[in-house]
């Protein structure tokens, strides 16, 4: 620890300057009743080398996806992040800064975030983007409360929002937690057997404050119906669309078919999965939502010399000004990860985004082509187009199948029964830019083998 404390060994000198003789005097104001009597029951201090070696041992025992052939996605996508992104984002000036309260010495981060806002705005087709929420789930949750704040006055279904029934329960749970304080009712939108939204069910949502759907949906399906929703819902219900941002290199931007708010897990742009965090939540909206939206936002301004300068703006929405009437409690957000996103987007450029989307989508198409050759594997939504992933129905229990694949070194996919308990034989298989043709062949081979063991057992 000495390497972190420059004044270790100088205590006496410093205390003497204050006319004191012991550190204890500095804590005289802490009553003895609340004092800790014993040392903390923790291990002794370690040196950098020892910590690193423990970290290597412990984290080394985790199975990193890169060591395996992996088909696990379900909301987080292993993508390649260019080397320059890491090297630039760890520059101390970015890494060790705080929220840019003093804009004069924080122009770098402020401008980078203003550029990030522009990149996201262009990506999703909406004029406004904030500089990140915690993740896709909190972005979705904040979108719901935001839609209620904007629309509930004129809504016929007051304090009510509709959410696709396919929404993963963990995401839905976050929404519920965020919505319960404002007493918002969350109702579910049904889907058809082919995976598409049930348009009758959508009609029920007319007059509510907001409708939340995902495109691609949680099972990877690209649903043409989603582009029709705004027409059905009209202007007094917020259409909230959650996206996999990379898909927007091929798929129409929700802002272009009427979405009022676009949210999403920003992770596939610029960030490794990192066990699910830190990642960043995308939040973009149209003008009517601006003053009731959550999160920080950067504006372009001028300095006293008239020079272009950037600063945080519209902070009267925020907790540090408006306190309990704030549009959100968010303070620390995910700026640095959003910065990685910005860097990745800057490197990709429009055509690069397109290429990346093509790589993801063609890998998925190849997956569909090859998996469809397996006897016993059914594709419930095979009629649609998929991005990154699709559901399959197996001739046996998904848990068994995943364990079998694990035993041959394949991370097989996601067990959909943990989202939809009745679907014990469903599995979500994911393909990304990192998927190679031979990975898919390996999966096919071992799925076949697993199925043959079932047949033997039967």
């Amino acid at each position: 620890m000495v390497d972190q404390l420059p004044n270790l060994g100088r205590e006496a000198e410093m205390l003497a300057a204050m006319g004191m003789t012991s550190i204890e005097e500095l804590f005289a104001d802490i009553p003895s009743e609340v004092r800790m009597k014993d040392d903390l029951p923790l291990p002794p201090p370690q040196s950098e080398e020892e910590i690193l070696s423990d970290a290597r041992r412990l984290l080394g025992s985790n199975v990193a996806l890169g060591e395996r052939v992996s088909f696990l996605g379900a909301g987080l996508y292993r993508n390649y992040v260019p080397a320059s992104v890491f090297q630039l984002v760890t520059r101390g000036e970015f890494l060790t800064a705080y929220t840019p309260y003093q804009p004069e010495v924080s122009q770098g981060m402020l401008q980078a975030m203003w550029e990030f806002q522009t990149l996201i705005s262009e990506l999703v087709g909406l004029p406004i983007a904030n500089l990140s929420l915690y993740d896709g789930s909190t972005a979705a949750a904040e979108a719901l409360t935001c839609s209620v704040r904007v629309h509930t006055r004129k809504a016929t279904q007051k304090d009510t929002v509709y959410v696709s029934e396919l929404t993963p329960p963990d995401r839905l749970s976050v929404m519920q937690n965020y919505c319960q304080g404002a007493e918002i009712k969350i109702k579910l939108l049904r889907h058809n057997d082919d995976g598409t939204l049930d348009m009758d069910s959508v009609s029920d949502a007319v007059g509510s404050c907001g409708v939340y759907v995902e495109q691609p949906n949680p099972l990877g399906l690209l649903d043409g119906g989603v582009t029709q929703l705004k027409e059905i819902l009209g202007e007094h219900t917020a259409l909230i669309v959650a996206v996999q941002p990379v898909s927007l290199g091929l798929v129409e931007a929700p802002g272009h078919y009427g979405a009022d708010i676009v949210v999403g897990e920003g992770q596939p742009l610029g960030s490794p999965i990192t066990g699910g965090g830190p990642i960043y939540g995308i939040f973009a909206c149209s003008k009517p939502y601006l003053r009731l939206m959550p999160g920080r936002i950067v504006g372009r301004s001028i300095d006293v010399d008239g020079k272009t300068a950037y600063c945080l703006t519209l902070s009267t929405r925020e907790q540090h000004i408006r306190r309990h009437r704030a549009t959100s409690n968010i303070c620390t957000n995910e700026t640095l990860i959003a910065l990685m996103g910005a860097m990745h987007m800057a490197l990709l450029g429009p055509e690069g985004l397109h290429d990346l989307a093509v790589r993801n989508m063609t890998a998925c198409i190849m997956g569909k082509q090859k998996l469809s050759t397996i006897d016993g594997v059914r594709m419930p939504h095979s009629s649609g187009d998929h991005f990154n992933e699709f559901a399959i129905e197996l001739p046996g229990d998904t848990k068994d199948c995943l364990e079998y694949l694990d035993s041959v070194g394949i991370v097989g996919g996601f067990n959909l029964s943990s989202w939809y308990p009745e679907r014990t034989n469903w599995m979500l298989v994911t393909f990304t830019d990192q998927t190679q043709a031979n990975h898919i062949d390996l999966l096919v081979r071992h799925l076949r083998e697993w199925i043959s063991t079932l047949e033997v057992a039967a």
Binding site: N62, G108, E122
Partner: protein, 499 residues
């Protein structure tokens, strides 16, 4: 180039990628789903991108570039090995849905962090899920809300918050649907027990406090406050933003709190990254543990067939608290930040107390040095301490009210003057109870020399005439930024040709 969007290289100038596994022509999206026009992103080659972000970084101030005494934010040094650790594939390249036997290393670290935070805070159970302090507050208040619901105490609709509290406290409580009862602080920011007694009744669900408070003073009456709130059946919530002052010396548990959040990015040095990411675990007493968001990490002896994947003799596993409120982040919180904070805590281990001692030593030394330097420079009449207290904790406040009165020099002027001397400015105008406030937190990782020099420079700034200071800063990449202009002439994205 002054901004990214001036770069517009030829098509395909971006980052080059391998060919797709199938030709793009295999994609047959219906026309309604096909994107018509790609985003108007810039086109940069790698050399241009590297130079752009290097240039931006040079226009940004961080701890690495200078002293960052931003009160309440604990801008301490970020040890570099932690960044190396966070890049190990066993954390950077793992998926939260992998099976437990793929993640024993991660789970064991999570378990160790739960335990460490429990013993440091004197709490019975910690969850690592919340990803920032504010989310921790929200999560804990949600848990308490469910606790009361289950007990049928639905009349508890109010949360007490001192007026000196951080804005996230009332915002988080309001998000849960509580009514906020703001009580005035005493002039030193300390809690006014009479004001508290006046509002304490059985409609109170929670009282939220920071200790040391936002003036950097320890709430000596904290046990009394706790017993008032507990007396009416309410719960005590500890805002852990100032935990850096007391670690190993006292604990929220000993002070009578029922729940607490940690700002790991402050106390345990996840780099602040220009505004995030953070990590905001919460700890609670036994009676609240069943309401925490899940899953939590438990451990039991490893079975024989588990030993292959185990990291020690134990098996670490996820489990759900029985009355869990559900989730506040979809995954397992900011695992990457937690790993860094684990590496940070391991450096001190049972010696964490030394960290807090030095944080408090440095703060008091700097407070002393500033008063000494201003006295020697004959400008001590321009600045007074924000509180009459013999000792501060990890931060302290100064009031520039005399300077304002005598010379028209505001706290903001002094802040901008300090920027010109190469420092990040202390927090200004917070807390509001101190007029023309500057809130100074040096942290334990600053050397005595830095503190001495800062004190001297601070006194020097006070000697600058008002006119010059109003014009400060002059040495920064831009000069004083017009925040009103920004709000009146909203420009939240590059206007392209629309300008």
């Amino acid at each position: 180039m002054s901004h990214l969007f001036e770069h517009n290289g030829a098509k395909g100038q971006g980052y080059s990628q391998p060919a797709p596994v199938l030709p793009a022509s295999e994609i047959t999206l219906p026309s309604g789903l096909i994107r018509k026009a790609l985003p108007r992103w810039p086109r940069l080659s790698e050399p241009e991108m590297v130079r752009h972000y290097t240039w931006l970084s040079k226009r940004n101030f961080g701890i690495d570039t200078g002293f960052y005494p931003l009160g309440s934010c604990t801008m301490k040094h970020n040890p570099r090995v932690n960044e190396v650790i966070a890049q190990i594939p066993g954390i950077a390249d793992i998926h939260p849905h992998q099976p437990e036997h793929h993640l024993q290393g991660l789970l064991s670290i999570f378990h160790e962090m739960q335990y460490m935070l429990e013993v440091c805070a004197g709490m019975d159970q910690v969850t690592l899920q919340p990803v920032a302090g504010a989310q921790g507050e929200f999560t804990a208040v949600r848990c308490i809300q469910e606790y009361f619901r289950l007990r049928g105490e639905v009349q508890r609709t109010k949360v007490i918050v001192p007026d000196s509290a951080h804005g996230t406290n009332p915002a988080s409580a309001a998000m849960c649907g509580f009514e906020i009862v703001e009580i005035p602080s005493r002039t030193d920011g300390r809690i006014d027990l009479d004001a508290l007694r006046a509002v304490a009744d059985d409609t109170i669900a929670v009282m939220m406090i920071t200790n040391p408070n936002t003036l950097g003073l320890f709430e000596e009456d904290i046990l009394e406050a706790s017993s008032i709130v507990h007396g009416v059946g309410g719960q005590m919530y500890y805002d852990g933003a100032n935990f850096n002052a007391i670690l190993g010396i006292t604990s929220p548990g000993l002070m009578g709190f029922d729940a607490v959040h940690f700002n790991l990015h402050k106390t345990f040095s996840q780099p602040h990254g220009g505004g995030g990411p953070g990590s905001g675990p919460i700890g609670v007493k036994e009676h609240l543990a069943q309401f925490l968001p899940g899953p939590l990490v438990g451990k039991r002896a490893a079975a024989g067939d588990e030993l292959d994947a185990a990291v020690d003799e134990n098996w670490y596993h996820w489990y759900q608290p029985t009355h869990s409120i559900g989730k506040v982040q979809q995954w397992h919180g900011n695992a990457g930040a937690i790993i860094r904070c684990w590496a940070y805590y391991r450096r001190y281990g049972r010696g964490l107390r030394t960290m807090s001692e030095h944080a408090v030593l440095n703060a008091n030394y700097l407070r002393h040095a500033i008063h000494k330097a201003t006295k020697e420079a004959g400008v001590d009449s321009l600045v007074v301490d924000g509180a009459e207290a013999k000792v501060a904790k990890h931060e302290f406040t100064l009031s520039l009210a005399p300077a304002k009165e005598a010379h028209g020099i505001s706290a903001m002027d002094v802040a901008k003057g300090l920027l010109d001397m190469g420092y990040m400015a202390p927090t200004v105008y917070f807390p509001l109870v101190v007029p023309e406030c500057m809130m100074v937190e040096p942290t334990e990782t600053e050397s005595k020399d830095t503190l001495d020099t800062f004190a001297t420079h601070f006194a020097e700034v006070l000697q600058v005439d008002a006119e010059t200071l109003h014009a400060a800063p002059v040495t920064t990449p831009v000069r004083r930024v017009d925040e009103v202009y920004a709000a009146r002439n909203l420009c939240l994205r590059h206007p392209y040709d629309e300008e």
